[in-house]
Amino acid sequence: MDLSQINPLLLLASLMVAATPILLAAIGEAVVEKAGVLNLGVEGMMITGAVVGFAIGVNTGSPAMGFVAAAVAGAALSMLFGVLVLYLMSNQVATGLGLTLFGLGLSSLIGKPYEGMKAPSMAKWDIPLLSDIPVLGPILFRHDPMVYVSLIIVTATWYVLTRTRAGLILRGVGENHDAAHALGYKVVRVRLMAIAFGGACAGLGGAYVSLVRVPQWVEGMTAGAGWIALAIVVFASWRPWRVLLGAYLFGGITVLQLNLQAAGAAIPVEILAMSPYVVTILVLVVISLRGQHGAPGSLGRIFHATH
């Protein structure tokens, strides 16, 4: 094995790229869960976003259009979940699982004609001046626009959740939906909007995998990223900045194991390939040792207004 092949600068730069899909999906899911809804369909919305983003990206030749379409597709799919859970009061765990199974089928149906095609390339944004800073420049400031968009979304989410009235209402709905309802807040409407936001973010995350990270369409290509995003929300105790930390830590592990594979490490490929999932389990164990701090009070509970 030749560890000197691994360039730490490239490693750190690709960490941000590897983490972005999970970051997008996780920040969306954090908002959904803050509103008191557990959507286990993240994987299904991501893979649908991936295929729709790719298809539109290829057909229009514009990755930007692909991302917009992916966000719309993710949000549309999440509305299916929202209607079932909020209006027909179905079990959230079962419905989320159903959404994932449905999304996987839908995506492979849409994606068949696009297998083996190449995604339109996305120009990188070399931020002037900043990208010329030695060391930090290549790591932080020479990425595609979506990396920055994801960071803006995290910042905006943090700001809205903790600094605005809308965020307070959303958190109130998530902590105690009966009290929020008694105060006159529209529980169902708030939750529906949160679910749509979560779906759009998951769609963007999926499209990032198919348009930038890989970049082509392969069936089942999100490979559990949506589930890892769910784990990161727990890891982050439902706080936006910790979601960022969790996603980047996770991106780091993914990139490191890929680099070790490429460098021909003495560890079997399969062991390296399973490491992100094993690490996720270990992290979940460590988090649960600490106790479940910060879980919204009404998470996963059915809201049924009698008055």
């Binding site: 079932l84 699982l97 449905f102 089928g105 399969e270 094993v278 389990i281 040792l289 009698t306």
Partner: protein, 361 residues
């Protein structure tokens, strides 16, 4: 203005009737989907649901396949339904299925080319233990540390898939296979082959195990204390605690049983219909079984019927692929739709729809 009124008790009529309604709704929605794909909807529905059973030329071939495909689905779904009833969500059955297959096949292959009659029973035991042990990981983590079993069991699916890739190109690879990935074929190893009990019916040992599991689950749920505790925990967790239900025991029992049954399903599949350990011998039964469990209303008899129906969509789907050029993924989507319609219509069994004129309520 329409509003929903919670029923004091779930309606028994609707509980039985919604799955049928959901199947009909899925056929209609599926027909529209097939039409959009440019196929004749009626012909597609007939090819999927009718031809595999009653077509003159295909029927004799596909009827035995019905049991072959239904057996793993029923076995896994029976196990999952116990946990789902009690609010314990094992969604990693696919991983336990793979581990059962690896362990069971490993035991069998270790004794190649012996012809002892003990080999197959030993493989069955090893398969069950493999699945059980894999499910014990989320189980123990949940009871010791309170770790979320949904995420852990699912992560372990990906770990198991990587292990499968590893052993089929290494430990269990056929030494006479000229370097091709995959183990020896169990068809050439009679003592370890999961043969048909009655020739030509598709009735292999796994099918027998599935029927036994259905009966056991039925007796457990209706006649045994543990089954009562499972149902009580699902319906009224607080009451269950006051009644002295031991949650630790219940979690380990539900996860362990579902793991063992999934492991058995994997072993029967790999030593019979699949024939060998390959990278992709698993075909997603562990996930489809989740739909089967819900379609069967988490009830053993319901699961038996749901498993047969789902097996029919698999076989019919293959037939439709062959005859009409329908994409294989369309069937996967069809199954997903079924789950959605089922969950959507569940509202009818828990709530009453009221049309009231005074909007002041």
């Amino acid at each position: 203005m329409i509003h929903l009124e919670k029923r004091p008790q779930p309606s028994r009529f609707w509980a039985g009737f919604t799955p049928i309604l959901a199947v009909i709704a899925t056929m209609i929605a599926g027909g529209i989907m097939f039409w959009m794909l440019g196929k004749d909807p009626l012909e597609a529905i007939r090819t999927i649901f009718w031809d595999p059973l009653f077509h003159e030329t295909f029927g004799p071939y596909s009827r035995p396949q019905l049991l072959v495909k239904a057996a793993p689905l029923i076995l896994i779904a029976i196990g999952l339904s116990l946990g789902f009833r009690a609010g314990i969500w094992n969604i990693g059955a696919e991983g336990q299925y793979i581990m059962g297959a690896i362990c069971g096949a490993g035991v069998g292959l270790a004794f190649y080319p012996s012809d002892s009659i003990l080999i197959f029973p030993a493989m069955v035991l090893a398969g069950a233990i493999g699945g059980w042990a894999w499910a014990m990981i989320p189980g123990l983590l949940k009871v010791k540390f309170g770790t979320n079993e949904i995420l852990v069991s699912l992560m372990l699916v990906y770990v198991a898939e990587n292990l499968l890739a590893s052993v089929s190109q290494g430990l269990l690879q056929n030494p006479e296979g000229m370097g091709f990935p995959g183990s020896r074929n169990f068809r050439d190893f009679p003592a370890a082959y999961n043969t048909e009990i009655i020739g030509g019916t598709g009735m292999h040992w796994g099918v027998a195990a599935a029927f036994i599991a259905v009966i056991f689950a039925y007796v457990l749920l209706t006649r045994h204390m543990l089954g009562f505790q499972v149902r009580l925990t699902g319906q009224a967790p607080r009451a269950a605690r006051f009644a002295g239900v031991n949650p630790t025991r219940l979690i380990l029992f539900c996860l362990g049983t579902s793991g063992a049954l999934a492991g058995l399903a994997g072993l029967f599949e790999v030593s019979g219909p699949a024939g060998q350990v390959t990278i992709d011998f698993n075909s997603g039964y562990g996930f489809t079984a989740i739909i089967v469990a819900f379609l069967g209303r988490l009830h053993p008899i319901g699961i038996l019927l749901a498993g047969l129906l789902m097996a029919l969509t698999y076989i019919g789907g293959e037939l439709a692929q062959l005859m009409l050029g329908l994409p294989g993924a369309a069937i996967q989507m069809f199954q997903g739709m079924l789950m959605f319609f089922l969950l959507a219509m569940d509202v009818l069994s828990h709530y009453r729809i009221r049309f009231n004129k005074n909007a002041t309520a």
